[in-house]
Amino acid sequence: MVLRDFYRCYFPFAILICLNLSCNQVDNSDYIIPCIECSKIETVLDEFKLNHLTKSQKLDLLNEAYELSTQLKVDSLKSLYIFKISNKMLKLKEYSSFRDLSEEYLLLAEELNDTMRIADYYWNMGLYYSKIEVSDSAFYSFKKASQNFSNVGHKYYEAKMDYNMAFILRRSKNYIESEAYAFNSISKLNSQENKVLLYRDYNHLGLLYYDMKQYDYSINYHQKALNIVSVLPKGNIYLERSLNNLSLIYQKQEKYDLAIETLNEALENSSLREKHSNLYAKLIDNKAFCMFLNEEDDNLLQRFNEALAIRQNLENEAGIVISHSHLAQYFLKKKDSMKALAYAKSAYEISSRLGMNRDILESLELLSKTDPSHATGYMNQYTVLNDSLIQQERKIREKFTRIQFETENYMAANENLKKKNIWISLTSGLALFSLSLFFFLYRQRSKNKTLLLEQQQHGFNEEIYDLMLKKQNRTEEGRIQERVRISHELHDGILARLFSVRIGLGFLNVLDSNKEKEQYDSFMKELQLVEKEIRTLSHDLKNDDLSSKKDFTILLSELLEEQSRLGGFRFQLKQDQSIAWNRVDEMIKINLYRMVQEAICNIIKYAKADEVKVSLTRENDFFELRIVDDGVGFDTNKKNNGIGLKNMASRANSIAAKIQIKSQVNNGTIITVSIPTKTLYHEGKK
């Protein structure tokens, strides 16, 4: 019986609050009035707010506003106004109009692909269904709204939907699930947000535990709710409601004194009677009932009647049923069975008319007590109704489970999709990665190939140099051999024969006259001079051999000559005569030659030098190759200095030489390669 109280008391209240919030949310986007139609609609809707209008006048206004809004061309605006109008229709309980408008709103929202608006639609539908007490549809709508809010990540509204669902579930006696939704709702709230919802959740849990007869928990949650009342918006009746609820638990626990005390606390608010007469009636009715149960007869009848009078005045039929039921019990106790029966019958009639099943049951129970003669009939009726109610409840519960299951399936599908997405992105990422890896490897490989080819080319270059050297040596050798041969020929053959001829002639003594003798002698002298010349020639031919030892330096100077013509620079080649190149290993010479070649190549390519000086010197224990140019130079600190310099360094390394490259931008370059003399010659020994 007390249960009934809560429904009546809280259900419309909850809807009102939610409805407000729902409107607020849309209002946020209503920043300017962008057109004439809009301003017209606005004025029509403003007019609607005036209190003195009758329902039909209000309806006319709403229809006018709707007509105007259909002319709007911007869908988002249109949907906004349709939403506003549909809300007002809901307030006016024009359900069919509301539904039509809502459907239109949904179409617009889907067209705009606006999840928030779709969520709003479901929210309103939820409210609508809970108003007409179609719990399963209400639950379904709230669930949908919750999903949509979840999709756009709106936690606060999700929490609201959870609360709404908890509320619906409790009304359908799905206590366990209702509890779960309430906790869900709390967990989604953070400390900064509006506390009203949190209060509502606590209050709901308090009521829930009351229903489940876990009174200690219930008291605990009501206390929690009372604790945050102080931070809630003023001018509301949160405190009084909570106190009322709390008192009902005490009443149930038969702590009537405590219950009365609590109710008195609530009644301290003097403005209640005028502003919230409904609650006021409830409070005094409850207080009277407590006193009645506590067997305190302090103007009890007067108190019950006061509450009844207020309710009758408010046309609060549900309240009247309770008042009648209380009065019936009062008169039953007072043994005034006539009055008791009258009130019980009245309660039964009104509740039957309103379809308030629980109240019907209670009034039937009362009737069986007040009218013992018809008790069996009433009890039978009671059992039938109770059974059907239980069955109905079970059906509804099953429906909820199904909806829950379906939505969970939907969620699971969503989850699956998410997982799929993750997999897809993961695999595509992996594929991309492996593709890039492959590409990288491919590039690396081709790079390696190029390097290998370069290396091979270097090898070939060296071979060419080697061949060049060999050729040089061969030609030189041939030249020398030829020279020696000619020299010998001249010396041993021609010279000897000339000599013998001359001496032989000298002993002929064929000439008599002095004049002829003189002439003869001068010829002989001439002949001797010829011999001498030939001999000198022969010697010179042989002695030129020395020059052939400079094969390496000849190659170098040839290289420089050729390259200087190519690169258009002057060159100087200085070399120390004391270096015995024929004793130096070919590998060292090849590498030195290559380094010079590389350096010259760089000079031609980059340095734009006018003059290049190459010197081969020996100082103390070191041999030094130095290449100096007066070109543009470069920054030696730069990391990537090209393959040329690296090659030179590796060449220097391979013959145990030290290489030093000094350069400044616009200040030429000096390359110095130094090798210990020992290394230079030791290598030659091998």
């Binding site: 024969r497 001496i503 001797q528 030892k549 005569q577 270096i579």
Partner: protein, 225 residues
């Protein structure tokens, strides 16, 4: 003076042999007390035979010796120098006149060291008059050296540098362009040993830290090669 002196001319050029004969005959014409019996050999083989198989108890009195000759068939006599040594061995009293086209100091010096000839004629310096004079002078117990040889001897007397045979050989080989790597086959030393000697030679000739060419030029200038 004996009635007949035996003269051996060793030269591979018949014309030169004839020229020597002419000269000897002129000597005989001009000096009635000189009586000569002349024979000639044109290669190492016949020369060796004439030197070693003498049919009289007296040996050769005068030998004209060319240095560059075709080697003997058994490769045991390679040059006039070897023949000269044979002569010195078999005919201690014989006077040797070396007549050669060589005019490089090294060879001349080597010949001096091994044969110490009484006459040393450089063919190209020679004319008939000098030849006749040289023969007479030597027959009478004197010595005669061509101008080139005399100059060299004087130069050598003048400088104080004293190097041994191997040093000279190294210098010579270098001067004719022998490669360092081939030197150990010619000189009884290792490369290192040769290198060391060369360094000392450069010090002696005051051409340190310079190339071989400088060394050779200096040595030639000073008459060592």
């Amino acid at each position: 003076m004996k009635e007949k002196n035996k003269v051996l001319i060793i030269d591979d050029h018949p014309l030169i042999c004839d020229a020597y004969r002419s000269a000897l005959q002129q000597v005989m014409r001009e000096h009635k007390n000189i009586n000569l019996k002349i024979e000639s050999a044109e290669n190492c083989d016949s020369a060796r035979e004439k030197i070693t198989n003498t049919w009289t108890e007296e040996g050769w009195d005068l030998v004209f010796l060319d240095i560059r000759l075709p080697a003997s068939k058994d490769r045991r006599v390679l040059s006039g120098e070897d023949l000269g040594e044979l002569i010195r061995e078999n005919h201690p009293l014989a006077k040797i006149i070396v007549a050669t086209t060589f005019n490089d100091n090294y060879r001349i010096q080597n010949i001096f060291n091994s044969l110490n000839p009484e006459g040393f004629l450089i063919k190209n310096d020679l004319d008939p008059k000098e030849l006749v004079n040289a023969i007479v002078k030597i027959m009478q117990g004197g010595v005669h050296y061509s101008q080139t040889v005399s100059n060299l001897m004087r130069k050598k007397m003048h400088n104080s540098i004293n190097i041994d045979k191997i040093d000279r050989q190294i210098l010579y080989e270098l001067s004719v362009g022998t490669k360092m790597k081939d030197l150990p086959n010619i000189v009884p030393l290792s490369i290192a040993g040769i290198e060391k000697r060369k360094r000392i030679l450069k010090e002696i000739f005051d051409v340190e830290d310079q190339g071989d060419k400088a060394l050779i030029l200096k040595a030639r200038e000073l008459g060592f090669i």
